[in-house]
């Protein structure tokens, strides 16, 4: 599998680190709903098909990105930078 890094271009997936499900939203820090916290930490859909997930280009530019990938075919349909430089990167890509 190859991932098209927004900075470095297409690279082997071994340069990247999987950082988890991008659809899992951290509950508010002051939330005392333990079930919501439990769901955020443990419950994953493990869906077969399209999945949005966080990756980091660990061996490259170290940029975080959201990769939309088909978990059956590994076909990647989009890569979006996230983090403090995301807006500049998206603006630069236009």
């Amino acid at each position: 599998m190859r991932i098209n890094c927004p900075i470095c271009g297409e690279r082997d997936h071994r340069e990247f680190t999987y950082k988890g499900d991008a659809t899992a939203i951290r509950p508010a820090i002051d939330s005392d709903d333990m079930d919501t916290h439990k769901a955020y930490i443990y419950r994953r859909k493990n869906s077969a098909g399209t999945h949005r997930e966080l990756w980091n280009h660990t061996a490259g530019c170290r940029t975080h990105m959201i990769v939309t990938r088909d978990t059956i075919t590994h076909h990647i349909t989009s890569v979006e930078p996230v983090g403090p430089f995301a807006d500049q990167l998206k603006e630069g890509a236009k």
């Binding site: 900075i7 470095c8 690279r11 082997d12 340069e15 061996a59 530019c61």
Partner: protein, 189 residues
């Protein structure tokens, strides 16, 4: 074996050691290696709202003996033939503008060149070397060893690259280059 051009601190020891002593290939050399200990090697990481300011300071450094490599959003690696680059960048870029990190003693540069250099490097590094132009920089890894690879201008029609590696991994990576280069003939300059 390389020595720093102008020493600031009493640390002249090459992490590659005797393995980097010059020697000829047993036949034709398909790849030639040499080790260089940078006189100054600094990383600059700007914040999202200070990228332009940092870029302005770094652009002024451009010139002979200075290599500027953009390695990520708001991030540069800069090598200089002169010592003291870290101090001058710290003066020009306060912490509200950028994080300046001295890496002079943390990096070794291995120059690899020759008719078969692409073949040897591609045997262990997942990069498309055929599409790298002189001046292109790529950050990658070889079996978990982080590498910064910069293509240099060709020398006598032979491709050349600077491979920047962590000092603590340099001997191991050099060992791999030696083994991978055996089949094409390896010389050390």
């Amino acid at each position: 074996m390389a020595k720093r051009a102008k020493m600031m601190t009493p640390d002249p020891v090459s992490p590659i050691g005797e393995a980097a002593m010059p020697r000829a290939a047993s036949g034709d050399a398909g790849i030639t290696l040499s080790e260089r200990l940078p006189s100054s090697f600094v990383q600059v990481q700007a914040w999202p709202d200070t990228v332009a300011k940092a870029a302005k300071v770094i652009d002024k450094l451009a010139g002979e003996g200075v290599t500027i490599m953009a390695t990520g959003p708001g991030r540069w690696l800069i090598e200089s033939d002169e010592t003291g680059l870290e101090d001058s960048l710290r003066k020009a870029l306060k912490t509200d503008a950028a994080a300046v990190t001295g890496l002079t003693h943390a990096r070794v540069v291995i120059t690899a060149s020759g008719l078969k250099v692409d073949w040897v490097l591609a045997s262990g590094i997942a990069l498309d070397f055929a599409n790298m132009e002189p001046g292109d920089v790529a950050l990658t890894a070889h079996h978990g060893i982080p590498l910064t690879i910069r293509r240099l201008p060709d020398v006598a029609d032979r491709k050349a690259y600077d491979l920047t590696v962590f000092s603590s991994y340099a001997r191991d990576f050099w060992g791999w280059l030696e083994r991978a280069g055996e089949e094409v003939g390896l010389a050390v300059a």
